[in-house]
Amino acid sequence: MDNEFKSPLAVRIIPCLDVDAGRVVKGVKFKGLKDAGDPAELARVYYMQGADELTFLDIGASHENRTTMVETVELVSREVFIPLTVGGGVRTVDDIRVLLNAGADKVAVCTAALKTPALISMGAEQFGSQCIVLSIDAKRCGSSWHAFTEGGRNDTGRDVLEWAEEAVRLGAGEILLNSIDKDGTGHGYDLELTKKVSESVGVPVIASGGAGSLEQIYEAVSLGRAEAVLLASLLHLKELSIIEIKEYLSARGVNVR
């Protein structure tokens, strides 16, 4: 990437809705889930507040859940006119097609892509790289990070930086980078991880996991060099609003919409 290049793009603030059995839930470090509301209703609220994009993650990923998620995406895409990313339990090119047809603009793949990296290349070939988001659940292991699967339960031993680079070569158009260590803690994003991945790939990186304050969101962008930030607990628990976040970032010299 050209170091002289200064991106004119607005930093994207992306509310993340983890959905299980038709309800938005939120836990800490992927555990201890609590109810946070109705997905379509929250989507409307965040859209009106100025969300730049929305992400829905089906965390149960059962057959019934998938049907409910498709219905939610169909409903939301009729009322909310910003990009929608949907993920969770996406295993096949057909799964991707169903979600895109329902109204998703991008589909996030995680566990299945680690098992079968060709899912990325096949998805990118059929629908374009812009549709394929690689979601990485990363956990620090010694001096590096490993990619985990099964909602953070299984260590694949795969180095996160290597995996991100390979996925981009295969056609992933964006990286959604979740820190398991930081998820839901409010202790701040894993800045070192975010910066390393962002500087090693030529596609946008969305920082996820750990946001607890305005300063930490600013740091994800300034120090972590993320193009976008994913927010869940902070918004669902109404500790901060998207408007407040954008006002703060703008005052710190960050481009926001």
Binding site: D2, P8, D52, R78, G202, V203
Partner: protein, 199 residues
């Protein structure tokens, strides 16, 4: 009725939903049949230049589209639907575009590619599409940009390592590089502007 051309270049449902939100009726055209019922035409599209042109040729839409535009009926190209109006693209060398505007599509050489996200559009004076919306943010998603050789048709520009044309208008033909259907309230307003221009 607004006809949305389905030439295999991506999902059209979000374009349909956005028009529905502003109270406009749409009809998806998978072939020439139904064209006579349409008063305005939209050419959307994501994907690559070559396959998109082949898609238009396979459904024998190239000539009808040129005739439509020549006769001064309202037309809107979105994203790839703007690029194919020009003469060609670095993305698919050897494939000719519709050649309705002078210029070719080139790949970005700075920054992360594709450009994904919200960028500001500087509106030219007298733009019908961007009426009342100078320096507004719209959602962009593309690797190739139009290197437009006709200053007079360029009504909107954006910056991404360079300044480039992201909106064109000439008579009843209009096209934008960004995605109004995914650009929140500003995008809906642009679609509304376009629908009202056609009346």
């Amino acid at each position: 009725m607004i006809g949305i051309i389905d030439y295999g270049a991506g999902n059209l449902s979000s374009v349909q939903k956005a028009f529905s939100q502003i109270g406009a009726q749409t009809l998806v055209l998978e072939s020439l049949s139904g064209l006579e019922r349409c008063r305005c035409l939209v050419l959307p599209g994501v994907g690559a230049f070559g396959p998109a042109m082949r898609g238009l040729m396979d459904m024998e839409f190239v000539w009808p589209l040129k005739e439509w535009i020549a006769s001064g009926k309202p037309f809107l190209g979105i994203c790839l639907g703007m690029q194919v109006l020009f003469s060609g693209s670095e993305e698919s060398q050897g494939t000719a575009g519709l050649g309705l505007f002078s210029g070719t599509c080139r790949k970005f050489t700075a920054g992360k590619v594709p450009q994904i996200g919200w960028n500001r559009v500087s509106a030219g004076e007298g733009s019908g599409l961007l009426k009342g919306m100078n320096r507004e943010y719209f959602y962009f998603l593309h690797s190739y940009f139009v290197d437009c050789c006709e200053d007079s048709v360029s009504v909107g520009t954006a910056e991404y390592g360079l300044t480039y044309t992201c909106a064109v208008e000439r008579g009843s033909v209009a096209a934008v590089q960004f995605h109004p259907e995914k650009s929140g309230e500003a995008g809906l307003r642009l679609l509304k502007n376009w629908v009202e221009l056609g009346i």
